[in-house]
Every structure is written in structure tokens, then in C-alpha cells.
């Protein structure tokens, strides 16, 4: 079976590819370029296309499938009309899939399930990354606020941090919020 993975995110495409590599009897093709997509599709001649639900090329691809009906290879959206659970799960995960009509549902389901798992794994990774980035930014802001306090009030570092923490506790705020306020005020006053 020939599976095309269309994704402009090369990272996600490789995560999906890696997940599907375990399947027997499947050939995988990864397309990350929007340009020349239809020519690639014609070359690959896939049985299943997996792509991100929000991929801007979906209309282009759907048009292509509709036209290629003339070649007696009708392509249906998703798994099977009746398999609502699978469809909802895949939409939730952000996977859209195009399946050549006539492919046994029993063969499609495991592929789709795997794809869903891999899409979810990718979003988890992204969330973790965003969180890590956010923490890094917070750290930098707190350091900046500390330096401002050290300079303007002549405090040593541990005192500056204690000052931040005290202000946060008094105001019922998080340290980062107090630090942000200090940095902003400092920028506004032109001392930065």
C-alpha cells in the first residue's frame, strides 16, 4: 500500500513517517513542498493521503481527486461514512486523510489510528517546547528586574530577589508579573 504524508512541517512529517514505518507492506512518501504538489501526487499515486487538517493545499488536492475521478480512481474523504468515531478522533487530532475508494476499511483503520497517535504526539512535543520557551523568557525577565533593582536601589542580588518575592506576596501576584511591571516601568521611564 502506498501512503503519502503531506506536511509543510518536516518535523511532524518525519514523526508520522517514523510511526508508520512499523506497518508491514506499506510504502511511505513524504511531501513537504507545497509547490508541485499535484505532480508529486500523480507520481506517487497513493492509496492513502494523510495531511494536516489545516493544510492550505487541501482544496487543491480535493479538486485534483475530484478531477481524477475520470481516471476511475475515486477518492473518498476519511475512512468510511459510517465510521464516525474514527472521523471525530482524526479531526480532533488535526489529521485529514484521503482514501482511495475500494480500499478495505480494515486496512485503513490501523493506519489512521497510528497517524492520530503520531499527530497527538507531535502536538504534545510542541506544547512542551512552547512551555519550555515560556519558562526561559520568564527567567530572563526576572533577571532583568533583579538587575534594575540592584542598580537603582544598590541592592545585592539575593536582596533584590527577596524584594521581588516580597512585593509579589504582598500584592498576591506571581513573581514574573511583578518583574514584568518593573521592566515595563523602567523602559517607560527611559532608564533602560
Amino acid at each position: 500500500m502506498r501512503i503519502a504524508i503531506v506536511d509543510e512541517s518536516a518535523a511532524r512529517a518525519s514523526i508520522i513517517q517514523e510511526g508508520l514505518a512499523a506497518l508491514d507492506d506499506c510504502e511511505l512518501f513524504v511531501v513537504t513542498e507545497r509547490r508541485g504538489l499535484l505532480a508529486r501526487m500523480a507520481q506517487i499515486d497513493p492509496d492513502i493521503v494523510l495531511m494536516d487538517l489545516g493544510n492550505p493545499s487541501r482544496d487543491v488536492l480535493e479538486e485534483y481527486f475530484a478531477v481524477s475521478r475520470a481516471l476511475a480512481r475515486p477518492i473518498a474523504m476519511f475512512v468510511d461514512e459510517s465510521d464516525d468515531d474514527a472521523i471525530i478522533a482524526s479531526v480532533e487530532a488535526g489529521v485529514s486523510s484521503y482514501v482511495v475508494d475500494g480500499l478495505a476499511p480494515g486496512r485503513i483503520r490501523p493506519i489512521l489510528d497510528l497517524a492520530i497517535t503520531r499527530f497527538n504526539a507531535f502536538s504534545r512535543l510542541q506544547r512542551d517546547l512552547a512551555e519550555a520557551k515560556g519558562k526561559l523568557v520568564e527567567r530572563e525577565t526576572i533577571d532583568k528586574a533583579k538587575r534594575i533593582l540592584m542598580q537603582s536601589k544598590g541592592l545585592p542580588e539575593p536582596k533584590a530577589y527577596a524584594e521581588l518575592r516580597r512585593a509579589a506576596m504582598n500584592q498576591g501576584k506571581r513573581i514574573i508579573e511583578v518583574a514584568e511591571a518593573i521592566v515595563t516601568a523602567n523602559e517607560l521611564l527611559g532608564a533602560a
Binding site: 509547490r35 482544496d59 479538486e63 473518498a76 471525530i88
Partner: protein, 403 residues
């Protein structure tokens, strides 16, 4: 208790009404809170609607009909209780092609531009065997039908003499620039973006092809609309107020700035303002040109879902899908538009409500007072550029005249 509705949209100027209804508090005063999901392709907007990520969507009208009739995928009944606007699209050609079919920087006449284009299509085919390629935003879009209507009426066969490809709106300028397409039919601000980039020049607005062409609708799954009927009626009232606000010149500056925000169109307020004010820059270095009724969001009960408009779209679906006219399908297509819900929502307000739900499309040359159920209404000229009329009572006869 505030009811929440999630609305899907593509970054286009005609996604304005739901956005402004929320931003200006019209939704809130109806007890509604609207949130939005932005996407880049109509396929995604439709999927999110069908699988419940959104309650309603900004949608090209033919797609709502195609989804209901099960064209290209399993049928799912959609309803359109409100038209988000008429027209607002343009035809932009590569600068070289534009200059050979129209005088630079001025509004062309659709028949004359079409005749000039036909010669080029024929010459090019005779000399190199090549066909021009046009981009439209979706197979089931008013853009596709308007472009094809114009080409066919000018003697250019859309499926034989040229190629028509799908290009998502945000990529239209790029497709022109790269020479993937020779022309596009797309909504604003994407024509103007192409002009700004020097990738294209605007030659026609779709309002010149059909002065009152149905464009985007508010689409919902029929069962969701029934289930949330009270919220839908409130939404319709809020959208109507947003429409009145949108067309008032006093608000153009503010509304362009809102629509330009990153979470909405994420674009240039200047380009959006041009579309809102029916003023377009056709080519780099030219002057702004006024296109009468370029966008049509409110006047003459523009938001009223005329069943005859849905059926005109169905007639074009039959024509270009090469399918057989089916009176049952025509009926189902017509029923996607829901004037009954529109009327129920606005009954007792100051908005005029037409007495009829269907009309002969393209039949008016002069302003005509029409019968109403509420308020007063005058319909202005609404011709197709070739003068044909669409009588929803005789779709077959109309199709025979076209082919």
C-alpha cells in the same frame, strides 16, 4: 446567560460581519459571545463545521449547497439563514496579460475584456498549443461560477480553451508571481495584495459580471441550527447591526483597522479600507478607481437568503459538473437558504423584509419598489452582464439557453 458561538472563517474582507458584531458589542447586546477559528482553506472550514469545532462558518455559498447535496463527500445538510455579502471579488491578471486585454488602470467592460481575452486564448493556442490558466479559490465557489459564466458568455469554453485550477486565497499573489496562473478570481484583500506586489493588475470586479451576485453565507449544520435556534436568531440581529455599521463611511477607518488585526486578516488596513469603500488600485502607480457596489453587505436586504440565488448556484453546479438537472436536487439546493429563519429573527425590527422568498434574478434595469412583509424596499438594477435572466421556475429552460 450569555450564549457562546464559535465561528470559522478565512482571512477575507467579507468575513467582516461576524467579527464586527463581536468587536462592536452587537453580539453582546444580544446576549451572545462569539469566538473565531481562522483557517486557510475552505476544506478545513467545512470540516470544522461538520465535526463540531465551529457552530457556524463564513462560507462560499456553493460549498454549503455542495455539502448538502453530497458532492465530493457524504451528504450533510447545511443551512444558510443569512447572506454575509454579495460580490466583493475581482479578476486579476498577470500585468502583461492585463495590458493586452484592458486599458491599464481603468475599469474594463466585461464583454470587451472578454472578447480581447478570447483572441489571446485563440492566438496562443494556435501558436504554441498552450492554454491560459486561471485560479479560483474552490471548485464550489462563486468565484469559479462567476469566472466561468463570464468566460463562457464571451465565447471562451472554460473546460476546453483554458485551465482552471484551485488556489487558496492567501497564495493567489504568489501563484501569479510565479506564473503558475495567468489570472485569478479571488476576494479582497488578495487582489490588492497581488497589485501591491506587482504580480497582477485588476481588470474586472465580479459585480460587473452580475451586479448582485451571491457570495458568502453564514453556514450551519441544519441540526445545530435547529438546536440553537434562539442563539441563531440573536446572531442574525447582531450581524444585521454589524452590516449597517460596516457600510457607514464614518466607520470605515476603524473597521479596517479591526479587520487588519493579526487574529483576523493579519493584513494591511489600507488595502482593507479600499475594499470596504469600493475603491481599488487596479495597477501599480495608478489612481484609486471606484467600483460601484464592489462589496454589497447591507442595502436592499443584501443579507436576505433568496431561494432563487441558491438555485442559480445549483444551475451553475449542474452546468459545470456536467451532471443532469434533477428537480429534487434543485429543491434541496434551494432549501439550504433559509429565509424563514431570517424573517423570524428580524420580524419586529426596522429591517425591511421582502414579501417573496424567490425572485427572477437579473431582471431589473431600473430601481423597483417590491412588496414587503415589513418596511419598504427598492431593488436596484441587478443585471448579469449578458442580459440573461434566471427564472427559478424554469431552471431547465435557463440551462438550455446557456449551453
Amino acid at each position: 446567560m450569555t450564549a457562546e458561538l464559535t465561528i470559522g472563517f478565512l482571512p477575507l474582507v467579507d468575513a467582516c460581519l461576524p467579527i464586527l458584531a463581536q468587536e462592536h458589542g452587537f453580539a453582546e447586546s444580544e446576549g451572545l459571545s462569539l469566538s473565531f477559528i481562522k483557517d486557510l482553506s475552505w476544506a478545513t472550514v467545512l470540516d470544522r463545521l461538520l465535526y463540531g469545532h465551529s457552530d457556524a462558518a463564513h462560507m462560499v455559498a456553493p460549498l454549503a449547497i455542495a455539502a448538502t447535496l453530497g458532492k465530493g463527500r457524504p451528504a450533510q445538510p447545511l443551512s444558510a439563514p443569512f447572506v454575509l455579502g454579495l460580490n466583493g471579488n475581482a479578476i486579476t491578471l498577470s500585468p502583461e496579460l492585463a495590458r493586452s486585454v484592458a486599458s491599464p488602470g481603468s475599469i474594463g467592460d466585461p464583454a470587451e475584456v472578454g472578447a480581447a481575452l478570447r483572441e489571446i486564448v485563440q492566438e496562443r493556442f494556435a501558436s504554441s498549443g498552450k492554454r491560459l490558466t486561471f485560479g479560483v479559490v474552490h471548485r464550489y465557489s462563486s468565484h469559479n461560477y462567476m469566472l466561468r459564466y463570464w468566460l463562457a458568455a464571451c465565447g471562451i469554453r472554460p473546460d476546453e480553451d483554458v485551465d482552471i485550477a484551485t488556489v487558496p486565497p492567501p497564495y493567489c499573489a504568489e501563484a501569479l508571481q510565479r506564473g503558475d496562473v495567468d489570472g485569478i478570481c479571488v476576494g479582497e484583500p488578495w487582489n490588492s495584495v497581488a497589485v501591491e506586489q506587482g504580480a497582477g493588475e485588476i481588470v474586472l470586479s465580479t459585480a460587473q459580471i452580475w451586479r448582485r451576485g451571491v457570495e458568502k453565507v453564514l453556514a450551519m449544520r441544519e441540526p445545530v441550527m435547529e438546536e440553537k435556534r434562539e442563539s441563531v436568531m440573536r446572531l442574525i440581529r447582531a450581524l444585521c447591526r454589524a452590516a449597517a455599521h460596516f457600510v457607514d463611511p464614518v466607520n470605515w477607518e476603524l473597521n479596517s483597522a479591526i479587520l487588519a488585526r493579526p487574529q483576523y486578516l493579519d493584513g494591511s488596513a489600507e488595502l482593507i479600507r479600499r475594499a470596504i469603500s469600493d475603491q481599488l488600485l487596479l495597477a501599480q502607480g495608478g489612481d484609486l478607481v471606484h467600483f460601484p457596489d464592489f462589496m454589497f453587505q447591507y442595502r436592499e436586504a443584501a443579507n436576505f437568503p433568496w431561494v432563487s440565488q441558491a438555485q442559480w448556484l445549483y444551475s451553475q453546479m449542474v452546468r459545470w459538473d456536467g451532471s443532469v438537472y434533477d428537480p429534487q436536487e434543485a429543491l434541496r439546493a434551494g432549501r439550504v437558504f433559509r429565509p424563514d429563519i431570517y424573517r423570524a429573527a428580524l420580524s419586529g425590527t426596522k429591517e425591511p423584509l421582502p414579501g417573496a422568498s424567490s425572485k427572477v434574478e437579473g431582471s431589473l434595469d431600473v430601481p423597483t419598489v417590491v412588496g414587503t412583509q415589513q418596511g419598504r424596499m427598492t431593488l436596484e438594477p441587478n443585471r448579469f452582464f449578458d442580459g440573461l435572466e434566471f427564472d427559478p421556475q424554469d431552471i431547465e429552460g435557463y440551462l438550455a439557453k446557456l449551453s
